[in-house]
Each structure stands twice: as C-alpha cells, then as structure tokens.
C-alpha cells in the first residue's frame, strides 16, 4: 500500500461541524465586525436611471456637509479609472465564436447602464453622514430608452447599451455534436417550444462588504472582503494599485453565504475602498445594504429558449436543438460561464447523439449577470426535462420509463459530448450510473403507489395533487488548481491552510476529516484556515462546486506527504520498518506494540532541530505544501422527486414530500452534504415559485428591491422534510473520488416543480413553459387555458 493513503476512519462520518461553536456563540469574525481606529465610512451614489447620459456631476455641496471627508466621481479618479478585467477567458476555443468584452467600470463616467450603477462615493465620519451627503450631489441626466426585453435587445432598432458596438450582441456561440437536422429528418416525433426563464437574486444573508486599511510605515494594505476569491482579489488589487502582491493582504473571514455573486471580482466598491484608504491614509468601511444588494449585486437566470427535440416512436432521443438568448446585463466581465453551462446541461443525463446549441448573449440595461448557485445549469436541465415531459405526454409513456430509455449507460463513461464546457475543455462526463438513481428515488417516494392508489383517491376528494420526478447532472470540481499547506505543531496540533474562502460550506470540518484520516488525529484537533492571503499564496477560489474536489484533494495530497514524513522519521526513531507503523491517536506507533510510540508533537520538535546537522535535502518540520489540479471537471448527478398539492382557489402550492437521490462521488461528511442539498433545494423552490426580480420594461426600474416585495422562500414554504438518499460513484479524476455538491440541490427544482404541477392539474392539460412561477401567474395560465 502507498504510504500516502490511509484507512478511512473519519471520511464519510456524520461529524458535527468544527466551526459551529464559534458561529453559534458570536465569536466568528465577519467583515462588519472589523472596527479600526480612525475608520471612515463610504456610501455610494447610485443611478436612479437604467439608461442615461451623464451631462454633469456636481459634488461641491456634498463636500461641504458636516462630517464629509471626501467625495469622488469618475473624474476624480484620474488614471486609476479603468475598465475592469475579463475574469474568465473568452470562448475562443469554440470555432467561429464572437465575444465582445465590456468589463465593469468603477464609477460611471459619461453614461449609466443600469439602475443602481455607482456614480460617486462619499467618505464621511459615519455611514449616516455619508448617506445624507448623497442627496447633495447634483447629477444632470439625459435619459435614454432602456434595453430590457431580451428579444428587443437584439432587434436592429434597439438603443445601444454600449455605443461603440454595432448592436447589443455581446457574444454568439454555436456548438454542434453530430448532425441535428439529419436526425430530425428520421424522427417519428418532433416537439418545439419556447421557454422563458427569468431572474432571481442570490440573496445571501450577509450582504457584500469591504474594509481596507493602509499602513503607511509598513507600506502594506490589509483588506477584509466578503469575497469567494481572496487570492485573485489580492493579485488584482495589487496590480491596480501598483503594489506587489506581498504588500497586499486580503482576508475573507466568515462570510454569511456566497452563492456565486461574491466570486464576481473587482466590483466598484471593492476597487474604490482600498484606493480611498491609501489616498486618505485612513481605514475605510463599506457595508452593502439590502437595497444595494438587490440593485447592484450580480444576478442570474434570464434566458429565452427556442428548443426542439426529435424522438423515435418508442421515446428514444435522436437529437436536441436549443437556440437561446442569454441576458448578460449591462457588462460581461464574467465572460460566458453561465450560457456555456446551459449549453452543457441541455442534454442532461441522456445519451443524445445529435445536438445543436446556439447562444446569443445580449447586453441589457439590467444588473450584470454572473453565476448564482446553479450557474446556467438549471436552465439547461429545465429545457431537456421539459422537452422530455412533453414527449412523454405525446407518446403516452411513463416519465420514469422515457428517462431510463435515454440515460447514458454506465459502460459508456467517460462519455464525450464533443462540445466545449465552461472551463474551455471538451465536455466529458467522467463517471456516473443513472438508472439506480431514478429507481431509488421512485422507490423512496412510492411513485407507483401514488399514481395508482393515492392520486385517484385524492382526485376523488377534489384535491389537485401531483407527482414529479426528474434527473440532472452537475459538472463540478473544475480546475485550474488549489493548494494547501499542512503543518504539525510542537503541541501536536495540526494546522491546515488553503487559499479558498469559506461561506458556510463546512470546510473547517470536511477538510479536517481528510487530514484526520491521513494523520491519525481527531477532527477536533485540526485547525483549518481559509481565505487569508497572508497564510497561503496560491489558488483561485470557492466556486463551481469545487471546494471538496479541488481544495479537498490538494489537502489530501499535502496530508499524504506529511504522513510519509512522519512514517519515515518514526521508522528511524523507533527502528521499525514503515509498513509496521500506524498513525493513530496523535501518535506514530508500532501497529502490534502500541506502547512503542512517539507523539506527533514530539516528532515535530525533532523534525525541526535547533542545533547539529541534518541530512542533505531535508525539509524542516512536519510540514508539506501540495497542489491539485484535475484533468477536467467531475460530473455529479441526481434524481429529485416531489409530491405537491395545488389549492384551486388561491393557487398556492404545498409541497407534501420531497425526495433527493444524489451521486456526488465519495461522501466526505453526510451531515454537511445534506445541509448543502437542503439549502440548494430551498433555493430551487424559491426559483420555481417565489423569487423573481421584476424589471419594468419601460423604465428598467427594479420593482421589487426589498424583502417586502421580493418573495424569498421561507421555512413555511418548504416540504416538512427532505428525504435524502445517496449513491457513490467515485470520480476517477481525483484520489478522493469526490465530486461537487454545492449547487446540485438548486438545479432540478424548477423542472421538477413544473412536471409535478402539470401532473396535479392534469384536468386542465396545462403546459408550463416558464419559470419562476407564482400563484398569480399560475392563475393566469389556468385562466387562459379555460378561455
């Protein structure tokens, strides 16, 4: 056996979280907990217009207000005013792709392109003073018609969001596998529909926030930031400010939820706060309020799809065609991650031989779109699952049967799709076994029993109850890489440091479990540090459901190296071959004679001698740094099922039962995994029936920028219990065999909800072709049907 692998004692266990005592007793540091002497506060003047030319900005009155220290508009920024970078590469690896980069800008200069775009920043002794001074700033606007509707955005007479472009087309990517048109010609059944998908908010409990402090004597900048990507923020901030990376420390402390928008880098507030801190040589704090979060934190989901499926009479998919417009908002700093994910998920779990996908990405006068938990995947899954549901009805098949007939069979993995994914590598599904997932989910929810016995009974009682079952994949764990350093201290305590940030994923526990298995120490004795660039220098961040896969395997590799060091030194000191040693209870000991042992603390001291000599090439201490970068992403999968009941008078929907069966490879900690799924499902239920950001088509105003009007799904909207099953198909792409699960819960819910609703309202023969729905919208759809 390779010394770098240990027996699994802790991986896979339901271990309660190391971080919870601190979080639950208020000991955890969040950005707003940072209070520094002489700290000033920032408030941003944001555009009330969605689209307007700025004729003049007059900040003179604001500057004179009591408590105001400084006011800056774009003009005051000089050379520091720059268009932000492209955060992911352009889709050049796809032949014929068009992409126009328009990065986010720190403060609007001659034009505002979405309501909520920052125009000026006021620095004052308190946030109250700063906000009062915002009303003193005089901006003269010349309003322009806003571009809101997606199809009109690409029309030839649409006003231009970016005047230097010929149209509002931000990008155009066509990808094809096989030949759809040939497949269509042979089909027994072709179904085409238009699907409308609208925006929602990530709505993390903690809004964004930045504190920056410049130490003039040390010439060092420290930034506390609610970011999911502290190391790229450190690198980018240093570059923008003309500092070396070593002069900038970015700390992403505890963050109250990321869900995607906090990976979005170099947002205006993040760029300006450190710049002002250096300029004024005073610490500056900015904490986003909820209205700012609605207006100016990135959002996701809006797309319009014209989709088509071609099938044989017995329900086998011959091909899928999907042409869609993707709304990128006012700028496109995040490239095409979201629409590429949509393209890569529009074949779902199925063996689709012919696929044509075309996306036109449109600039609009709405907030920028970047990934939000799901990141384009829910839209792709919505399209394919809805198409299959429509086919099911046409062919008189069973929803489970049609899926089983089309699943990629287990012997076809790794399965090559021959299109490019969000990481610009060919889309290959590394592993999977889908049929048992649907069988298990169907058994858990008693599918047959419900259809044959319960539902007829409920119908007879006048109840509109329905069942749904859908399957999905999630591409996870993408590269490029993450790293970790593991050190055994003189007290025997193990320190694990990694570059990714943490926003509630339980990293302090699941990462500790990996190390605990390698080093034979208790999970509670392992101290994990994330998101501090002074502690670890390399990495990219927490996104794309990659923490457990990429950082997890880097930690596993570094821990394996430390294990090897311990065994080598232990073997020398105990005079026993390495194979006869074991690591347990914080000791290295002879497996058969446990009393012959040395504690890891003692060993750490010996490994770091104060005097004498060491062998050539010896690295001091029980420490190792290692990295992991997968060849390509690991693909997770799952099947969700639900039973719901519709109140025919109020159109409210009650979810009676909810079942998930997920396969995310090796489960590190079922408790944490179930928490992730639970959170994802609740977000998905919001996406399906409650949460919609409503923009006025005439004015571009966001009409529900508060929790009074934006209906976030509450605990009372959840099913009484989410029943979860697991299946483990380890990924062959990483030693732990893990796959991501952070986004999975949210992905299939809108598609599942639509199927279950149609089933419940079978009498009306309703077709649901849009998401999110709402009781109002459901009423309208039924009313239209009745007339």
């Amino acid at each position: 056996m390779d010394v770098r692998t240990a027996k699994k004692k802790f991986i896979g266990q339901r271990i309660t979280r190391n971080e919870d005592p601190r979080l639950l007793t208020g000991q955890a540091l969040f950005v707003d907990d940072v209070h520094l002497p002489d700290m000033l506060h920032a408030a941003f003047l944001r555009s009330d217009y969605a689209h307007a030319r700025i004729l003049s900005i007059d900040t003179s009155t604001a500057r004179e207000r009591t408590g105001v220290v400084a006011v800056y508009s774009a003009e005051d920024m000089g050379d520091f005013w720059q268009e932000g970078p492209l955060l992911v590469p352009p889709p050049t690896s796809v032949e014929g792709a068009i992409f126009h980069k328009r990065g986010q800008i720190p403060l609007a200069k001659d034009k505002v392109r979405h309501a909520g775009e920052p125009i000026a920043v006021v620095i004052a002794h308190s946030r109250y003073m700063a906000e009062d001074a915002l009303a003193d700033i005089l901006v003269e606007f010349e309003p322009i018609d806003p571009v809101i509707n997606l199809e009109r955005a690409l029309g030839s007479d649409a006003p231009l969001v970016h005047d230097d472009l010929e149209s509002n087309l931000a990008a155009h990517v066509v990808q094809e596998k096989g030949n759809y048109e040939e497949a269509k010609a042979k089909a027994d059944l072709v179904i085409s529909r238009r699907f409308n998908i609208d925006r929602g908010a990530a709505a993390a409990m903690e809004n964004r926030g930045v504190v920056a402090s410049w130490d003039d004597k040390a010439q060092e900048l420290t930034m506390w930031d609610t970011t999911q990507a502290p190391i790229p923020i450190r690198n980018g901030t240093a570059a923008m400010l003309g500092l070396s990376e070593h002069q900038v420390r970015v700390i992403a402390p505890f963050v109250g939820g990321g869900f995607g928008p906090k990976i979005m880098m170099f947002q205006p507030e993040e760029v300006l706060v450190p710049w002002v801190a250096i300029k004024l040589n005073r610490p500056i704090k900015w904490i986003e309020d909820r209205r700012e979060n609605f207006l100016a934190t990135t959002q996701e989901r809006s797309q319009v799809h014209d989709s088509e499926i071609a099938l044989t009479r017995d329900g086998r998919i011959l091909g899928v065609k999907d042409i869609f417009i993707h709304d990128t908002g006012a700028y496109d700093p995040y490239g095409m991650t979201v629409p590429l994910n949509t393209q890569c998920h529009a074949m779902g779990t199925y063996d689709v031989p012919n696929f044509y996908t075309e996306v036109k990405m449109a600039f609009t006068n709405k907030m920028i779109v970047t990934p939000v938990r799901g990141a384009g995947r829910p839209q792709g899954i919505y399209v394919i699952e809805r198409l299959l549901d429509l086919a099911t009805k046409e062919l008189g098949l069973d929803p489970i049967e049609i899926r089983k007939r089309n699943f990629i069979p287990p012997d076809k993995f790794p399965y090559e799709h021959n299109i490019i994914d969000q990481a610009f590598t060919p889309l290959i599904l590394d592993s999977g076994n889908y049929q048992p997932l649907i069988e298990k989910a169907a058994a858990m929810i008693d599918y047959e029993h419900f259809i044959n016995e319960e539902q007829p009974k409920l119908r007879a009682e006048g109840k509109y109850a329905g069942i749904g079952i859908v399957a999905f994949i999630e591409t996870t764990g993408v590269g490029p890489y993450e790293g970790a350093r593991i050190t055994v201290g003189a007290s025997g305590q193990v320190n694990v440091v990694t570059g990714v940030g943490t926003q509630g994923q339980g990293h302090f526990t699941s990462f500790a479990q990996i190390v605990a298995d390698q080093l034979g120490v208790e999970v509670r004795d392992i101290h994990v540090v994330t998101g501090d660039t002074a502690q670890f220098h390399w990495g990219t961040g927490t996104f794309a459901s990659r923490g457990a896969v990429v950082a997890g395997n880097a930690i596993n590799a570094a821990a394996g190296n430390v294990r090897a060091k311990i065994l080598k030194l232990g073997s020398k000191l105990l005079n026993v071959p390495e194979e006869e040693l074991e690591l347990a209870e914080g000791q290295v000991r002879v497996a058969d004679l446990p009393e012959q042992s040395i504690s890891l603390g003692e060993l750490a001291v010996i490994a770091n001698p104060l005097r004498g000599t060491v062998d050539p090439g010896t690295e001091p201490g029980l420490e190792s740094t290692d990295y992991f970068g997968p060849q390509y992403g690991a693909t997770a999968a799952g099947v969700h099922a639900m039973i719901l009941e519709v109140d025919p008078e109020t159109m409210m929907v009650e979810i009676k039962r909810y079942v998930t069966v997920e396969d995310c490879g090796t489960v590190l900690n079922p408790l944490i995994l179930e928490g992730q799924i639970q959170g994802g499902v609740s977000m998905g239920i919001g996406n399906a029936f409650y949460e919609q950001l409503v923009y006025d088509e005439d004015t571009g105003q966001l009409l529900n920028a508060s929790f009074m009007d934006y209906l976030i799904a509450r605990s009372t909207d959840m099913p009484p219990r989410i029943e979860m099953g697991h299946q483990e198909t380890p990924s062959p792409l990483n030693p732990l065999g893990s796959k991501g699960a952070g986004e999975a819960g949210a992905i299939p819910v809108p598609a599942l909800f639509a199927q279950a609703l149609e089933n419940a309202l079978a009498d009306y023969n309703l077709e649901i072709l849009e998401t999110p729905l709402s009781p109002n919208r459901l009423f309208e759809l039924l009313h239209k049907k009745e007339n």
């Binding site: 209205r291 004015t699 105003q701 009409l703 920028a705 508060s706 009074m708």
Partner: protein, 210 residues
C-alpha cells in the same frame, strides 16, 4: 403607470380655471408642497415633500402647462427629482361645464418613477398618487367655496389648507379603503393590513407633530 380620473367642482368653470392656474392656490392644495414659484407664464418650479410607504424625501421639480385652451383644457407636464428618486409624467386635463353651476374635471396621463420610490414603494405608488390627487381636488374645491363665498359677500375669506399630517392620515385611510374593496375576500388579512396601515398613519402623524 397610467393616471386617470375625474372630479366634480362645485363652481362655475371660469372660477375653477383661475383657481387651477394660480400657483399660490395650487401650492396650498398639493399636500407637502414647500414652494411653488411661477418662472414664466407656463412654467412653475417648486419643492415638495413626498412620502410613499417607507420612502420619503424632498423633491424639487418643474411643472409646465401647455396646449392651453381657456377655460376648457390644458396639458400638464411634471418632472421632479430628489433623494428617493425621480418622477416624470404628463397628462391632459379637461374642464367640462356641467350646465348646473358645477364643473367636471377629467384627466388622463402617465407617470414614470425611478429610484427608491420605484424599487421599494412600487406597491403603494398608485394608491398614494390617486389619494394625493383626490385630496388636492378636495382641497381645491374648499378653496373654491371660500372664493365663491368671498365674491358673493364681498369679503376675503381665509382658506385653511390641509396640513401634511391631515394628508398622511388621508393616505392611510385610502389605503385601508382600497383593502376593503371586493377583491380582498380574506377578512383576516384585511384586518391585519388595515391595522398596519393605521399604525403607519399614526406613526406619520407622530413624526409630523414632533
């Protein structure tokens, strides 16, 4: 957002016409107006306090009268902005002589709002706008009565414009009134919301008097 409605003034058309073209009278009739100055024959500039649900603030703006056909009709365009956002609208106003000594005013127009009032106050804008219009007309009508009595008796009659407090409670009443319309079937929800609306009215009154 479309605005339209009508109001019957208890007085002859000529007097009503003079009234609605008098900035001092208008300033008094529009609740929350701090100032309204005539800039030229057809343009007025002023400042006004507006409160829509949780959003409140001072707006400064411009009012332009055009297409004037005395005493029958005119077009009104309004533009205003302030801390809580902006509003822009326009509409046509007709004064119809009813032949019985009364005058029917009809109006139809459009209003666009942006910023916080649109983001957060959306649900209440229509009710508040209608309520403001209604109260302004009632106030104008009282002013009209005062003027008519004054003319008849040859004395100046002092007209007392409503305070912002009276206005705020009027808005609260209108919100409650709307909730009791037949589309709200659920009595409990209505009662709870009504209680909240009354509390808001009470709180506004408190903050106004303090």
């Amino acid at each position: 957002m479309k605005l339209q409605g009508e109001y019957k003034f208890d007085g002859p058309r000529d007097v009503v016409w003079d009234l609605v073209r008098d900035p001092d009278v208008l300033a008094k009739a529009l609740p929350g107006t701090q100032s309204l100055e005539k800039v030229d024959e057809n343009t007025y500039e002023g400042k006004m306090n507006v409160r829509i649900g949780p959003v409140a603030g001072l707006f400064s703006g411009k009012l332009v009268v055009s297409n004037e056909v005395p005493p029958e009709s005119y077009t009104l365009n309004v533009e205003g902005k302030g801390g809580p956002g902006f509003g822009k609208g326009g509409g046509d106003v007709q004064l119809i002589d009813q032949g019985d000594g009364t005058t029917l005013m009809t109006y139809q127009g459009e209003l666009q709002v942006g910023g916080t009032i649109a983001n957060v106050g959306q649900r209440l804008i229509e009710t508040v706008a209608n309520s403001m219009a209604k109260q302004a007309f009632e106030s104008l009508n009282r002013s009209l009565q005062a003027r008519l009595i004054g003319e008849a008796e040859g004395v100046e009659v002092e007209y007392q414009a409503p305070s912002e407090l009276e206005f705020a409670s009027g808005v609260a009443k209108d919100i409650v009134g709307q909730l009791f319309s037949p589309e709200y079937k659920n009595v409990w929800i209505t009662l709870v919301v009504a209680a909240v609306a009354l509390l808001i009215g009470y709180a506004l009154g408190k903050s106004e008097s303090s």
